[in-house]
């Protein structure tokens, strides 16, 4: 069985300051991990994915995430927040053997001017 825990339901940052969205996972096998972003009334958009290659993964819009097996974490970071980053972010764990993707409950990011 696999699962994802997003440690913060809501994160608020000021524009230009760093962003950290935390995610811990549980998986019996080597997982694939993803971060998706969901803007209001828009579809889920893939930010980045980890599939057992480099542990530091760079995604779109300046986001990156680091896979830390020892900590079972896959935290999402960005050096400098932009107003357009305000959205809901989902961490996802997948076991490619059975096409099972498990979503976290989401973290709402607010960016203050």
């Amino acid at each position: 069985a696999q699962s994802v825990t997003q440690l913060d339901s809501h994160v608020s940052v000021s524009e230009g300051t760093p962003v950290l969205l935390r995610c811990n996972y549980s998986s019996s096998y080597s997982p694939s991990l993803f971060w998706y972003v969901q803007h209001p009334n828009k579809g889920l958009q893939l930010l980045l994915k980890y599939t057992s290659a480099a542990t530091l993964v760079k995604g779109i819009n300046g986001f990156e995430a680091e896979f830390k097996k020892s900590e079972t974490s896959f935290h999402l970071t960005k050096p400098s927040a932009h107003m357009s980053d305000a959205a809901e972010y989902f961490c996802v764990v997948s076991d490619h053997r059975n096409n099972d993707m498990r979503f976290g409950a989401g973290t709402r990011l607010t960016v203050k001017p």
Binding site: G43, T51, S94, N99, M101, F103, G106
Partner: protein, 112 residues
């Protein structure tokens, strides 16, 4: 290069009505998934198709939910005798050969 499309985008149904939600996946994507996203929650898996074969329907919440993909492309999720607890956003995704799922904009269903 169109993405995944879904229709209708919004649906209001009276309790007890049947509804049908359509998903057009990205052309050539073999795998198709349906998810249910309740308000304030992450998407939850409903069912999965590989071509026309429904390989996993373990997430369907009741026998009122039925999905099909008869020709291996367009898929329809049908909900019979809708209940208020069925109100949610229903998301469709198709998966690329590189194992990435691409999501549609969803259908927001409200059952009154």
């Amino acid at each position: 290069g169109a993405g995944v499309s879904q229709s209708p985008r919004y649906k209001v149904a009276k309790r007890g009505q049947d509804v049908a939600l359509r998903c057009d996946p990205i052309s050539g994507h073999v795998s198709l998934f349906w998810y249910q996203q309740a308000l304030g929650q992450g998407p939850e898996f409903l069912t999965y198709f590989q071509n026309e074969a429904q390989l996993d329907k373990s997430g369907l919440p009741s026998d009122r939910f039925f999905a099909e993909r008869p020709e291996g492309s367009v898929s329809t999720l049908k909900i019979q005798r809708t209940q208020q607890e069925d109100s949610a956003v229903y998301l469709c995704a198709s998966k690329s050969p590189q194992e990435t799922q691409y999501f549609g904009p969803g259908t927001r269903l409200l059952v009154l």
